[in-house]
């Protein structure tokens, strides 16, 4: 059975707080660790340092070295031991330092984490969460700005989610930890400490369900669908479009696998147009999947093909060039223009 996501009623923490995404994640992890002492954190530099992004800040101090483990430097080891710990009854939360370093752990993710439940006809559960800071826009060197989430969406047995705002960050991480399936949790690293996004988080009442997408801005002319860091880009684009009298609906996917495209279908049936936005390269990606399914489900509603504004099919470029690589407000609006003019 899944561990409970407790509403916080202990009164120690104010019920509503203004938080960044980073702080919300930190508090969400803390709440999960308080709720269930089988929750442990594993990763490189997650202890004393609190992680290179400080998302686990203070947790080792308060929960000890057996619940927040500074592991040896090897990702297959982190995931592989987490699987074993889960078999033992723990609920490990692994931190991958940057998405570009998840690949040494790919085999354990696809061969064990994703398949153990299926292999054993459900007799073994592996409630492991793999936290992955992802995406670009931080001016970093190679391997620190990628968006590999589509690879995991293609692997059956995994669930993949991404948060885009502090409230979701706080609740989704707890729900992911409580989920009995392995969850890859993609965190929009460039927004971790973005003060603009700081918002009030109600820490008493859980948000909606984890595996559900959500309309975050209503509109009538064209639908934008995105997840993680691209949600903010889309919201900004919608605000800019509104000034020019164009009404864009924005959907935050939240769950990447399984996809919850119901709200997207419903929206496209109204607007007739869809632009899918993601920093990931487009080829064989989540945005491909969205396009494939929407053209099938909304065949007679579409007034233009589903278009995509994504990272290009190149490796992530040197970050002086990332403004070109990343789908920004202009490129999203340009793509909307193309959809409108079809």
């Amino acid at each position: 059975m899944a561990a409970p996501v407790r509403s916080r009623v202990d009164g120690e923490v104010p019920a509503v707080q203004k938080l960044t995404i980073g702080k919300a994640l930190n508090m969400g992890l803390r709440a999960a660790m308080e709720a269930d002492d089988k929750v442990i954190i594993l990763g490189e530099d997650v202890g004393k340092l609190g992680g290179v992004f400080r998302i686990t800040d203070g947790l080792q101090k308060d929960f000890g070295e057996q619940r927040v483990l500074d592991t040896p430097l090897a990702e297959s080891g982190i995931i592989g031991t987490a699987v074993g710990l889960a078999v033992r009854g723990f609920r490990p939360v692994c931190e991958i330092q940057f998405e570009g370093f998840i690949f040494p752990g790919f085999d354990q993710i696809s061969s064990q984490l994703a398949k153990l439940h299926y292999r054993t006809q459900g007799k073994i559960k592996v409630p492991v969460v793999v936290r992955v800071p992802f995406g670009g826009g931080i001016g970093a060197v190679e391997h620190h700005s990628e968006s590999p989430e589509s690879l995991f969406a293609h692997i059956p047995g995994l669930k993949v989610v991404s948060c885009s705002n502090p409230t979701d960050a706080y609740w989704m991480i707890q729900q992911a930890i409580a989920c009995d399936d392995p969850v890859l949790f993609f965190e929009p690293k460039r927004l971790y400490h973005n003060g603009q996004l700081k918002s009030e988080v109600d820490t008493t009442t859980p948000g909606g369900p984890l595996f559900a997408s959500r309309v975050v801005r209503e509109g009538t002319d064209c639908t934008l669908v995105a997840y993680g860091p691209s949600v903010k880009v889309c919201l900004d684009a919608a605000a800019a479009a509104a000034e020019e009298g164009r009404s864009l609906e924005v959907i935050d996917l939240r769950t990447i696998s399984p996809l919850d495209l119901g709200p997207v279908f419903e929206s496209v049936r109204r607007t007739g147009r869809l632009v899918a936005v993601s920093e990931a390269s487009s080829e064989s990606s989540i945005t491909s999947e969205i396009a494939a399914r929407v053209q099938q489900e909304c065949f007679y509603s579409l007034e233009a093909p589903v278009l995509r504004a994504t990272g290009f099919d190149t490796p992530y470029p040197p970050s002086k060039l990332e403004e070109h690589f990343l789908p920004d407000l202009d490129r999203v609006l340009h793509t909307v223009d193309r959809a409108m003019g079809w």
């Binding site: 899944a2 442990i40 057996q66 592991t71 040896p72 090897a74 297959s76 080891g77 995931i79 592989g80 031991t81 987490a82 699987v83 074993g84 710990l85 889960a86 078999v87 033992r88 009854g89 723990f90 490990p92 040494p104 085999d107 354990q108 061969s111 064990q112 153990l116 439940h117 299926y118 292999r119 054993t120 006809q121 459900g122 007799k123 073994i124 559960k125 409630p127 059956p156 047995g157 669930k159 989920c179 009995d180 399936d181 595996f211 399984p258 996809l259 919850d260």
Partner: protein, 410 residues
């Protein structure tokens, strides 16, 4: 179901097999060299001739092995071998998709498996049918994997026997994590009321082959277990071959010496000596339970059959090698020992043989009657919690299938 033999043997007589290469001189020498390598370094308590060798270090770990217990180990090995041969034969008859024979490795598996306590956990690779047996997993429960009706389905927790792992090395890290969990839960290094080691302390054992030692995951398992003092016995069955590659392709040194680089004990045991395997594994498990952290055991043994039923060992090793190893058979030396010391007579041996035959017959009958899994099984248990996308794929497929039934086509 297409038989995996077709992988390599398209049309009899022609096809690639006709070009089969002979093993090189070096490989033959390497193979033969193995037969007496390990001599000085190897821990042996029962010689191939059935003589019991005293060991100041290890005798106390088998002080409870009286003639009856030894007969038990003999019986274990005979049953396991008989079942293995039966399964192998059933594969030849098309009843199994593939079989992974353990022939020759009975002592390594029964000896180490019998060293475990109920509360311990074993992480097998894919050849550990003998260990499975010692953990109380019915041989029948293994067949689903090889008949390809399931990926394994025994009660892992109840038996303390993890699922088979096919991807080489993966299970070593999983076992390290599990053993860390035992440690974190305070299940090592305890004492009872009298100050003796607690009988409820736990340890984990993980099985892998000589070839597996090259994988990064095995190394990382060594690193993790060492750093966290995890109660983990690394049990490497060096059966001299990783499919067609001799151990020389994986290491310059005897494999047990790998442990030297990590700071925990490594030991080579005669893997065809069930007593030595039992004693050494008990010692290693105790080290673990005391909280001293991991131990590496290299069981020096030999894969007497093919890698799997799809393999053709004549392409890479000479039958002479097998002949040499036959002299070191793990079962025969116990038989000689029991007989010579009057611990068992022919009647008893015959009785075990019939028991083994019955065991095999039962297995065969079970195998022939195994049901086909239903189509919806494709979609079952992908997730513990529902996935609407998958549910609709399933529903759509099942109604598509139902269409055939209605049309009388399937």
């Amino acid at each position: 179901m297409p038989s995996p033999e077709q992988w390599t043997h398209p049309e009899p007589g022609e096809g690639p097999a006709a070009q089969a290469a002979q093993p090189s001189r070096e490989q033959v020498i390497a193979g033969l060299r193995n037969t007496d390598a390990g001599g000085a370094e190897v821990t042996q308590l029962l010689t191939p001739e059935g003589e019991r060798i005293a060991s100041p270090q290890f005798d106390r770990y088998i002080s409870d092995i009286d003639p009856e217990a030894l007969r038990g180990l003999y019986r274990d090995m005979v049953l396991v071998r008989r079942a293995d041969r039966e399964a192998n034969a059933m594969q030849r008859q098309g009843q199994l998709g593939i079989w992974v024979p353990l022939l020759g490795q009975e002592a390594a598996q029964v000896g180490s498996g019998r060293a475990l306590k109920p509360q311990d956990m074993a992480f097998p690779s894919y050849r550990e049918h003998g260990v499975a047996y010692t953990r109380g997993v019915d041989f029948k429960e293994l067949l689903g994997i090889f008949r390809c009706t399931d990926h394994g389905g025994w009660d892992f927790k109840a038996h303390g026997f993890h699922p088979y792992t096919i991807v080489i090395g993966n299970q070593v890290l999983n076992a390290a994590g599990y053993a860390m969990g035992q440690k974190f839960e305070g299940r090592v290094g305890n004492t009872d009321g009298d100050g003796n080691p607690s009988s409820t302390d736990e340890a984990t054992i993980v099985y892998f082959g000589d070839g597996a030692t090259s994988q990064g995951d095995v190394h990382e398992g060594f690193v993790w277990a060492a750093v966290y003092d995890a109660p983990l016995v690394f049990f490497c069955q060096n059966n001299q071959w990783a499919i067609s590659e001799p151990t020389e392709r994986q290491s310059r040194l005897p494999l047990y010496q790998r442990a030297r680089g990590y700071g925990f004990p490594g030991i080579r045991v005669d893997g065809n000596d069930v007593l030595a395997c039992l004693a050494v594994t008990r010692w290693a498990l105790e080290e673990c339970r005391h909280g001293n952290g991991p131990v590496l055991i290299e069981a020096f043994t030999y894969r007497m059959d093919a890698h799997t039923t799809t393999d053709d060992p004549t392409r890479y090793r000479l039958s002479e090698e097998l002949e040499v190893w036959k002299h070191k058979d793990p079962i025969e030396r116990v038989r000689v020992h029991l007989a010579r010391n009057g611990y068992a007579d022919q009647e008893w041996f015959d009785q075990i043989q019939s028991e083994a035959d019955a065991f095999a017959a039962d297995l065969r009958e079970f195998c022939f009657n195994m049901p086909e899994p239903p189509p919806e099984r494709v979609f079952a248990n992908v997730y513990a919690e529902p996935s609407p996308v998958l549910d609709s794929q399933r529903d759509e497929f099942l109604s598509y299938l139902a269409g055939f039934v209605e049309a009388g086509e399937r």
